[in-house]
Assembly symmetry: C2
Homo-oligomer: 390 residues x 2
């Protein structure tokens, strides 16, 4: 097991009607002037934004709103937000939405007290030292951004999708999580979210670090819970307990619980980031195409952990060698993804003619000669994997 | 799933040589005058106390020391500590030790800014509103107190062993966890710690709240990791990875991860508290006697979750009814406890003639007419369970 720091100081307030406590939570965390950030109009139509604003009003906290944040969040929204927050002397940011809104807010939070261009942080030219505090009212169980210190932003000019990762600075101070708010999500979005959280666990699970039984077991347990609960959500979108299990699993998948003490991989995420940066597909749908392809390639080249995944998570009986066991597990995983309506290749993803040269070139320009830690992938390797997604 | 708040803001710094960062962590968390609290002389002899003091000195943080904290921590140590901390204008408490030291420190932390008697908090006459900050350098993987807001203290006069539970206030702000510091623990103490962490998970796991698959899976995964790693520790006390897995599991077992969204039980802990309050046995050893007895009684009266425990954690094949499956799982659990040297009845615990009348009377005087939430136990029930421990 490697040395590590685990620090997840977010106050998670989970359950029915918890959005009514938003104002109180903002106050407890020292907010005096809040910028509420949200995406499309769904939080307006559903009345959620109203309930949140009333909750702030009842605590006499002044606020402004900033809507229209795009999915696959973009730098232009961040610049706008930074300017607005500065002009209005905002001291607290409140995300009302999912991962895209939260990631945008984190970038704004780091950008406000910074004299330079916030993109410096994503281009690794600078490390954020200060940030505004932020809180979350979560509406989508997916990205786990409510419990992480990470943010992913796309620079529109150049379709550069890059991420930053902070241990402490950008973690939301609170996250309100009411599973009922996810009842009305379209099934496709629910499925994308489920795929994203599974991928967050797998990126940590696929590691060569040995002696991490506790991290493995927590990862496998969370995967099994997601796989068990997901079908219930599609059968009955208002199944509270199933929605609640999925929502909490999404947080556990990404706050670090499943990654302690080991090198993490993240090659699949980086490959997907190029796909969604170029083709603007939903991140979760992209991952549904990338991850099985990556796993299948690994079954050929470095199967040991894929076999463990097959045995412990998919209950594959131990016949044959690691490769055969691994392939059996991947089959189960693909069947699961198909059953929740996810695409499994470029065509199903809506990209009949992917420009694989471009994807490979961008990937290695952004991420270096090799990507991944479980098995270090060269340009030749990632090209092979992209090819199998056709 | 029930509504819940999950808030585990402790900064866990885990791995080799991490105790050398103690001074830096104290500084980051605002300490200017520290009281270092420890138990017997083992941290002196091992040189750990020296290393910690040097680490504080190198950050120019002044400190005093307060040693001699008893196992099964007592109110008299707390009073002494409060007086000392007040007289010396201490603003930060540092535990160097295991659960007994940490629990004592939490009680001191709550007691210092309180005008009345700190015991008011344990007697439920008052709720702590303020507390000194505290940090931990952990030397025993057991109680999980490094990541919890709880404390258990025995009032010497009357042998009253009572606990308090706070969501936020008493959680340590940091915990330094170096598995190497546990290499020299006597095997009996290691085994008591392992039993205690298993019990912390089971108290949360045994719940009637339905729709908590994620909590169940996290609990089962942690239990499986402990069961897998424990034998390695006894085979080779310097097996770093095994010690590391056990140490982290002890934290996960008690910081709330395994309990979210459900009613918890805690009857077995309350029963054990009476045993160790009256007979001063090691808490973990007491739990090794109580928990199998409690489970066996439950196999008769309310077996459903015991059967799930048997199937998922002990891989009991699904033959027979819930009761039979449950009993098979309990057999595995007892074999495991015996294999690590734990007692399984009062005699093995060193109490050949337990005063069961007294235990039952104290239990229900302290905890009310019934105890436990998985199955509410009357005096008649707890007497039956105590009797089977003979």
């Amino acid at each position: 097991m490697n040395n590590f720091t685990f620090y997840s100081p977010t106050e998670f307030v989970f359950g029915k009607d918890t959005e009514l406590r938003t104002g109180k939570l903002c106050k407890e965390h020292g907010a005096t002037k809040v910028m509420i950030v949200y995406g499309g109009g769904s939080v307006v139509k559903s009345g959620l934004l109203d309930r949140v604003m009333k909750s702030l009003e009842s605590e006499n906290i002044s606020f402004i709103t900033f809507g229209g944040i795009q999915p696959n969040p973009v730098d232009t929204n961040v610049y706008e937000g930074i300017t607005l927050a500065k002009n209005e002397n905002v001291d607290f940011l409140l995300s009302v939405g999912g991962g895209s809104v939260i990631d945008t807010v984190k970038a704004i939070a780091a950008g406000v007290p910074y004299d330079g261009d916030f993109w410096d942080f994503f281009a690794l030219k600078s490390i954020p030292q200060k940030a505004l505090k932020s809180g979350v009212v979560l509406t989508i169980a997916a990205a786990g951004s409510e419990g992480s210190g990470n943010s992913v932003i796309t620079k529109v000019d150049g379709a550069l999708k890059l991420s930053i990762r902070t241990d402490k600075l950008l973690r939301p101070v609170f996250a309100v999580m009411n599973p009922e708010l996810t009842y009305t999500l379209p099934p496709f979005q629910t499925a994308c979210g489920i795929t994203d959280m599974i991928a967050h666990i797998l990126e940590r699970y696929f590691s060569n670090t040995v002696g991490v039984e506790i991290s493995d077991r927590l990862a496998e347990g969370t995967l099994m819970a997601i796989i068990e609960e997901a079908p219930k959500v599609f059968k009955n979108p208002k199944d509270y307990d199933a929605r609640a299990n999925i929502m909490w699993s999404g947080m556990i998948a990404h706050n670090g619980t499943c990654g302690v003490g080991r090198a993490e991989d993240w090659a699949s995420h980086f490959m997907e980031h190029e796909i969604s940066a170029v083709y603007d597909v939903a991140h979760g749908a992209g991952l549904a195409v990338v991850f099985p392809a990556w796993l299948t390639w690994m079954a050929d080249h470095h199967p040991f952990k894929v076999a463990q995944f097959a045995k412990r998570v998919w209950s594959v009986e131990c016949k044959g060698d690691d490769k055969q066991i691994a392939l059996e597990g991947i089959k189960c995983f693909k069947e699961f993804l198909a059953s929740i309506g996810m695409p499994l290749n470029f065509t199903e993803l809506g990209i009949p003619n992917p420009d694989i040269d471009l994807l490979v070139k961008k990937l290695h320009t952004n991420k270096g000669l090799t990507v991944g830690a479980y098995y270090s992938l060269s340009e030749k390797d990632t090209r092979e994997i992209f090819e199998t997604m056709k």
